[in-house]
Symmetry: C3
Subunit: 444 residues, 3 copies
Amino acid sequence: MSKRLFIAAVFMSAAAVLGFAQDSGGAAVWGWNESLDMIWLFLGASLVFVMQAGFALVETGLTRAKNAVNIVMKNMMDFCIGSLVYWAVGWGLMYGADRAGGLFGVGSFFKNVMDDPVFYRDWFFQVVFAATSATIVSGAVAERTQFKSYLIYTVFISALIYPVSGHWIWGGGWLSKLGFYDFAGSTVVHSVGGWAALIGAAVIGPRTGKYTKGQNGKLSPKAIPGHNIPLAMLGVFLLWFGWYGFNGASTLSGSDSTIARVCVTTTLGASAGAIAALCTSWILFKKPDSSMSMNGALAGLVAITAPCAVVTPGGAIAIGLIAGVLVVLAVEFIDKVLHIDDPVGASSVHLVCGIWGTLAVGIWGNVEGTARGLLHGGGFAQLGRQALGVLSVGAWAGLMSLVLFIVIKAATGLRVTRKEEMIGLDISEHKAEAYTGFQIFSNM
Amino acid sequence: MSKRLFIAAVFMSAAAVLGFAQDSGGAAVWGWNESLDMIWLFLGASLVFVMQAGFALVETGLTRAKNAVNIVMKNMMDFCIGSLVYWAVGWGLMYGADRAGGLFGVGSFFKNVMDDPVFYRDWFFQVVFAATSATIVSGAVAERTQFKSYLIYTVFISALIYPVSGHWIWGGGWLSKLGFYDFAGSTVVHSVGGWAALIGAAVIGPRTGKYTKGQNGKLSPKAIPGHNIPLAMLGVFLLWFGWYGFNGASTLSGSDSTIARVCVTTTLGASAGAIAALCTSWILFKKPDSSMSMNGALAGLVAITAPCAVVTPGGAIAIGLIAGVLVVLAVEFIDKVLHIDDPVGASSVHLVCGIWGTLAVGIWGNVEGTARGLLHGGGFAQLGRQALGVLSVGAWAGLMSLVLFIVIKAATGLRVTRKEEMIGLDISEHKAEAYTGFQIFSNM
Amino acid sequence: MSKRLFIAAVFMSAAAVLGFAQDSGGAAVWGWNESLDMIWLFLGASLVFVMQAGFALVETGLTRAKNAVNIVMKNMMDFCIGSLVYWAVGWGLMYGADRAGGLFGVGSFFKNVMDDPVFYRDWFFQVVFAATSATIVSGAVAERTQFKSYLIYTVFISALIYPVSGHWIWGGGWLSKLGFYDFAGSTVVHSVGGWAALIGAAVIGPRTGKYTKGQNGKLSPKAIPGHNIPLAMLGVFLLWFGWYGFNGASTLSGSDSTIARVCVTTTLGASAGAIAALCTSWILFKKPDSSMSMNGALAGLVAITAPCAVVTPGGAIAIGLIAGVLVVLAVEFIDKVLHIDDPVGASSVHLVCGIWGTLAVGIWGNVEGTARGLLHGGGFAQLGRQALGVLSVGAWAGLMSLVLFIVIKAATGLRVTRKEEMIGLDISEHKAEAYTGFQIFSNM
């Protein structure tokens, strides 16, 4: 009982200190413009929050039953830790006053005021984007990563990696000054998460049994099917639903008619992505593959995220179709050529199609003075700016992720033991089963 | 690898062509009225989108585990295909310039402009309704239909069947001119999908083992229980949630106080439907049946969809109660008398209660100049108009569905083989299992 | 068949009577302020509705497979019954004209008007709160309660218990006049439901096999793990999502900048709760426990509900951290000391943390003239008012629940038989299985 009292005491004293905040105050009553913006961003952010559930279900559904508790725990806790960390540090790095020639922001750390509704409104909308970036990695490193190590990773992507490149693009930093354009985050959110996913999966190594060496000395990959396709599909629907907030509310204004365009391009891009992936898998593998089709819809969504405000419906379909083909080829390439084990295809969806969507702005972009692409008389100028952004964010996020995962590996270890992996992370890490009472084949 | 390059090339050239769009431009900044309408329709449409997830779960949960991948794939792909088709053709037929005395619209096919926010806004709100109509059929033809044939069907309902009768009622066509009233689509959406569901299920025939001939020569139906009731119930909750957008945003205006009435009547209609179906099943079958209760809630929602804006709370309860009784009787009648195998009761819910709700406008409708029904001094005039709409839409949707399913059957075949049906469509059509690792009885 | 006609006839005559309503009319077109309030409350209420799905999943996931149909049925039907009852009686008791010195309201029973958009708007927002309070109990009495008895209980909490104390606080009653402050319902909603949950669980007694008497004569509890952790986690995400409507829209105005503060404090409170519960369980039980972490997030949400509009981000974190510790200690205490069997921890989450959040207003509250707490120069005055509210609502809800459950027990019985409990409520109460076809261990 003394242990319990101790815990309570620790938290209570920590808590009391936190409570001593700045000034008090009431609330402003706003005009229609500010009010509409506020509820638009509020509802948009709430929709983006639902994407956390979507990620959790997609990743759970596409992996094995013995690791399902672990996956949903990672997906909940990375949001919880990420939101505190982004409040404490991340927001200030991303949206604080510009320093070092646009490299990062400074200010507003641990911001604890009572009366700053604009800060509150903007922070809520931004924290859900930060959390999206962080959670992308969860699926790529699934089924063999220590829970503890994953939580450490999540602190650093939310506090440092995401906010710094975010500052370059959305915080008034150097890339935005050069004319790089990323409307809702194909690069800012998805490719940053995608780089961390790819590198995390590479550093941590494949799941035991995933690759076996044949007699010719070549590695051949084994398919490890997911355990709950309906749940994964529900995840796709929830992600798509949330994406309307992700893209739509990225106007940051409720009275900007661009919202109307965004909802159409987002819908058509996602649909085209799913159809293209379905057809590609049907031709390549002789079956209308469900996980490829799901990833195709997500690929279309990721790709249309950067250009959704500056392309026509036809452009959106084009971008989505290509994303749907790309994601299938990328999944094959990463698995069969690179031999990196990404159980849910997170890097193919978020990194490859995040890059693709970012470049597509330079091809189909069609708004004078913002993003005028190759097909609309803009020449290669915008495409060049987009490529610069892709490369520099890739360098930052890739390098930082590499350092981070190597340091965690050295410091606390990244993987569970082979025995723990065989038993499953639910029992070895959480001492729990996901589906108590159900007969599940032990060798899966 | 050359095959892959080929695929990529095909998509890329197709895509490049699509990308050459019309004029460029910026965005308008709207006043409060237009802005509020835009975000109202945007959020309403996003809620209606969630109904796709709801349908997928209800249908998956109420059918067998061996067909779960197939069902969720149908539900995702019909939205994806439907949205492209509705952009290309459907929208123009439904909302293009009125032709042939109100029979269909013409214009705005493949509409690929940059600056038409009103079109964007309205298209997004309409496409999710079109998709709802299409996806209703999925459950009725579940567990024995070829995936390919289902995709062909979905093209035609989204491109032709739904838009034409939609034009009659919402596109300014002949029924609307005669005073037919359907606020949010009991007829436009639900009964059209319901007709296709009933006729599809009839043409394709029952699942193997569903009806057995007894010694007296009579067919006796066998109950084939669904495999995941909690998932089905989640689907009902998501459908109900989405229905608030379906009915609420059908005001098409964010400043029309009718919204407030709609939310109340929708809630009470659904609740009354569930209670009535629960009681009816309890009396008839001596048990508080879960699938009947779920269908009762949906029946109440379908029925209140047409009249939700023109009835009082009491009227909504009355309409919902009757819908809840009707749906149970209809499920029994279609199964035991007509011997049509509709695994999830889609035609009872959407067709029977869609008709009921449409007629109810002529009984409980209470708005002068719009829809004044029998119980409120309007005589039989409105009821007659509603019956005319039910009959003519029934003739159109019923006949077209019949032709469509017969043509598909002749051209490519509708059913999988008996052996494929036994194995389950997940393995035979998609070469996948929904629940890898779980022990599932093979004879189910 | 005559039985069926009978049923139909009964409902139809009942329905026809209900349909005779008051005056007819059209709709008002509102200015931006009223319009924004309407759609804000509409969307907020729709989000709160989703919490019904969240509760259903959390409770289903944390209990056994053999009772899953029963749980989801309870969760749907309590909303359906509750909404009719709250329309008929509850609303009038809560928001009718103040009587008996603030003890209850009178008026607006069975309100069946055509033209009162303000009533419609407010009723819809309130009914989903009433339903939340009712549904909290479902999990606490899970796995051994008769379906019929549960439905009877739900009538009384929605018609009487919730509305009366609700009137005291939100309906202009005596507690509100004394300065008691509960922004979105830590007390009004959660602790009322929590009292009913605790007392219901106590009166009905533990599940068979839950407590066994050891050789020393002491009762020792046995852990009965839930059957679907991913589903439970999805429930937590949906609850959290819905909570943004719960807390956010409780401003009752779409142009009150307090909304912005609320979204931040709600997010941070929930995150802090989950982290604290994770750490507490890790220290106490040597494992990062999933159900404790989930309950920690919910604990943080419940606790921040009362103070979310009057505290800073730091205050919210403090309140959430303590809630996360408290919920783990409370679960242990109720199980191991009180020996009350609450299968999902509903009373720990909603009662204990509802009380905690209500008191926290008196500690961290920081708005002059509304709620100025201990840490911000308000002395003990506000804390005293909060404690008075906690005690008086506890007395009312606790006593009424006790009487209610004892009367139901005497009148119709509360529990199923031991044999029915062993078989599971799905088969014994609903003659259905939740997961037909799956191999499930019969002894669970």
